[in-house]
Symmetry: C2
Subunit: 293 residues, 2 copies
């Protein structure tokens, strides 16, 4: 059994990005610039945004954090986004989700210039990914694909089961694993209504669990030699932890791991790769690799 080390992989990729940025600066090019918009003071969002700012520093990017009050109106937020769309210094930006309930999230997403949508959540990027065209791929699926590639895990023709059908993980993950240029796998998506979920898992060469239910995948659901990628990060109470909780994956790690050829831990598996993917997308935006204008 090999433990897939997302933390180490993410650190290595950020160093590669930093080296490339340094070269670009030395050649007189502009420093990549990622902006983040944070509305309100949600604790989880504060932490995520803070980690993104730290990652920008590691990669040699300029970062801007725009804080808006909890009671910001939708129109004020849209104006802020239009400003970022039109700011030639900003290569990419993210709007930290979730937004306060009085704001229509989809309406906000639709206003983001897809050429600066480094989170890959705008319909144009989702559509271009579905169609196999160059695009910003959303961060978690891109991170998982990157892990599979770095660990040279064979995926072509393999049976890959994705658990969960969310817009930000399950669905794009399935599409990437399906495409000839990425996974090239036989892909099955299971969800809460799937009658044959356990059978599908038992037949899988690769399981990607993104269902948000702690310890959902048990040893009896995994075949010997499988590759298991755990996207779950549910906070569960833990008296032994200083914070009073710990992050728990969707996979019952202790009993599943011995059967696996490869498995990601939680934390330290998929999680660190997500921000790293955002950095990759920001560099690609600065280089105009995907959209030339």
């Amino acid at each position: 059994m090999t433990l897939i080390d997302g933390k180490m992989t993410a650190a290595a990729i950020k160093e590669e990005i930093k080296a490339e940025v340094d070269q670009r600066i030395a050649a007189g090019q502009k420093r990549p610039h990622l902006a983040a918009v944070l509305v309100g003071h949600d604790g989880g969002s504060e932490a995520y945004v803070k980690n993104k700012v730290i990652a920008c520093e590691k990669c040699g990017f300029k970062s801007s954090l725009i804080r808006l009050d909890e009671d910001t109106t939708e129109e004020q937020l849209l104006d802020c986004i239009r400003g970022l769309n039109n700011d030639p210094d900003v290569d990419g930006f993210i709007v930290q989700l979730p937004l306060p309930k009085h704001i229509d999230e989809q309406r906000v997403i639709n206003v983001i210039d897809y050429r600066k949508d480094v989170d890959g959540i705008h319909p144009v990027n989702a559509g271009r990914m579905a169609l196999g065209l160059p695009c910003f791929i959303s961060a978690t699926p891109l991170g998982i694909i990157t892990l599979l590639q770095r660990y040279q895990i064979p995926t072509s023709g393999k049976k890959c089961v994705v658990l969960g059908r969310s817009n930000i993980v399950g669905k794009p993950m399935a599409q990437l694993m399906l495409q000839k240029n990425y996974g090239d796998s036989t892909v099955t998506v299971c969800h809460s209504h799937s009658a044959t979920l356990k059978d599908e898992c038992r037949a899988a060469d690769i399981i990607i669990a993104a269902i948000g239910r702690p310890d959902f995948v048990t040893a009896d659901m995994v075949k010997e030699g499988a590759v298991v990628i755990d996207v779950g990060t549910t906070r569960v109470p833990d008296a032994n932890s200083k914070t009073g909780f710990r992050l728990n994956g969707d996979v019952k790690f202790n009993e599943v791991a011995p059967k696996c050829e490869y498995i990601t831990p939680v934390p330290g598996g998929v999680g660190p790769m997500t921000i790293c993917s955002l950095m990759k997308n920001t560099l690609a935006a600065a280089k105009k690799e995907i959209y030339s204008n």
Copy 2:
């Protein structure tokens, strides 16, 4: 075994559309208007476009056919499309594919106003479908979903295997079958590189074959009581036919049909539903049901 009659279903839907159009005209509203752009003189394309014009007549739509020479430049075609985008009388339009080789198809598609993209091929519509947002769904997948609904075939929680991963059938079909609002199935997509394709098919409650290989699905690949949807329409030589060929599906009908609870024939199954879906989308465009402006 029940034969799913696409021809009859499509005719019934076109009558329903006609009745609604008549009501709208009586209420003083504008007649829905579908335009089609045909570049060159490909025999297949000529026939498809002709059938679309006939369907428009049946539905009470206005139709326009814009014919451009085989040697039309990409820029001339783009100008034509921009004209249709800006023509307030045109509710929706299609650009008949394939285009001559000197024209970049994707570039042409990107210029179509997604609010008039009744073929559902623009990235915005593909993306909105992936995200589960209202959109124009491409014609063949929408036709198949409509057939399943009209025949009240249960799909929720069932195992659905899609054979083929094309952008216009396999991929969008898989997405529709996955979504809670449509199929809500456990969905597996198989393709030419799938090692376990036959096993997947044998376990399937529903098989949707869109792989373009005549008689590919044989009786040993189908379980008793399965639902089989055949999207294949390969022209194969046939000395007994007046035209010298016949349309052959992806399913070996004679041996598979006896095992099925439901099956679509070729021709007369999925085929007639495709144009019918285009008519549904055009009516929706005229009613501004999906995009309000």
